[in-house]
Symmetry: C2
Subunit: 260 residues, 2 copies
């Protein structure tokens, strides 16, 4: 999908806003840390009308971060990154972002102020490592958060956030009012009370007949530990969504009547 | 990194085996389902001596899956995929893999047999949807699992697994003895009892001086709800790892002595 795309659905133009998430960190790839940011970001963006189209996880290696960032920012409306903005040598996200944009990097005066104010309270000392957290590409705007003194930043269509879930979530909330959003994807879930394999053919036919509605099928184990199926219908158009849902329900009614 | 790479560490050649994970599924990108396969795969591969170098999450869209698969399989020793091998229309992984390899796709006789045997037990009926689960690129080898009747498969350097964590885990265990593995990455964690910002400069100097050891720094809240730091050292060489760890410990001792 292009960065800005317009869907024509039933005569109405609905702008589609897309995003990618770039998770930066050796600790995720080694399995030491279990990522919690993908699920949170996915749910948040879906709710505000931004389609998360892709996620990548890359190591703390500058060429990897730069390459992924440049691929993603050319393709989607926004790129969110998590991780790599702390005070240690393995925190290289700000440098990688500056390099990807071809911008100089320097201490951000307002970020330095915020950090000094926090250190005055906590009693920590300002040093080279802490100053490192205030380095940002020229022109970056701060993405504040109430939890840590270290802001993330936004430059172009890239939003750079912390890796710690609590801090990342605060940054995502902070930046949300500034984001362009599209028509939200609406979603309805129907419980099949059947196995996926019982309805695959019929469901495929319904999906094919309902343009503008994406139908997904997800097996799960129900309360009686029997294989069951959730059918999830998604569309930006409430009428189309309702029509497809009725057809799925009618199909399930026929199936259950035949089984009785 | 290239697909096959040899590190020269202290005169010994240690082969590096790399992998990428491709997570396929709209439900992960919408936030409806929270992925559990990334963390499990990361930990498992690290333990057996395969470096997970990249993860991507893409939607149930054939061109997206094909493009990601071709980018990843050219670059890493192995590519693992999860999701999209069920009986419904949105399960398009097998077709996408066949397309990526330029191979024809057909019903795999042994997969059909396994499915028929299972249906004889469960009483489900064989139908077009269920047959769909047995379609695989020509030349694929089955990746069995004890939980579901639907095998995954391996073709070239790509291992195609289910999305349901339990089934995926069984498939990963099944395929493990067939995988080439390298010298495992060893890991040691040192608790800093300090803030990240207190040691950033010194830790960076140690990291720079210890080639062949990757040092990561991870803040966490300790039992007394104070900001604390884990320093994680990783290397394939036990001597190098021990040397770097001693230096980190000596640095921390100096820091704590100065604070007393």
């Amino acid at each position: 999908m292009g960065a800005r795309e317009v869907e024509n659905r039933g005569g109405k133009d609905r702008e589609i806003v897309t995003a990618a998430l770039l998770v930066i960190g050796d600790e995720i790839l080694s399995g030491r840390t279990k990522d919690k940011n993908i699920g949170f970001t996915a749910e948040h963006l879906t709710a505000i009308g931004i389609d998360l189209k892709e996620v990548r996880v890359v190591p703390d290696e500058e060429p990897e971060i730069v390459a992924a960032l440049n691929a993603l920012r050319a393709r989607y409306t926004y790129v969110f990154t998590t991780g790599g903005i702390g005070p240690t040598h393995d925190d290289i996200t700000a440098d990688a972002v500056a390099k990807a944009f071809g911008l100089p990097i320097d201490y951000h005066p307002r970020a330095v102020e915020i950090l000094r104010a926090r250190l005055a309270v906590t009693g920590g000392e300002m040093n080279e490592a802490r100053m490192r957290m205030t380095r940002m590409p020229k022109g970056a705007e701060l993405v504040l958060n109430k939890i840590s003194a270290a802001p993330g930043f936004m430059i172009g269509n890239v939003i750079v956030m912390a890796g710690i879930p609590q801090v990342m979530q605060a940054m995502l909330e902070y930046v949300t009012p500034q984001l362009k959003t599209g028509t939200a994807m609406l979603s309805q879930t129907v419980r099949g009370d059947c196995r996926e394999g019982d309805i695959g053919t019929e469901l495929g036919a319904i999906a094919k007949a309902h343009n503008g509605v994406v139908i997904g099928s997800y097996p799960f184990m129900d309360e009686e530990r029997r294989p069951n199926t959730h059918i999830v219908l998604r569309s930006r158009d409430p009428q189309k969504l309702a029509a497809a849902k009725s057809e799925v329900e009618a199909m399930l009614n026929r199936l259950h009547a035949a089984a009785d």
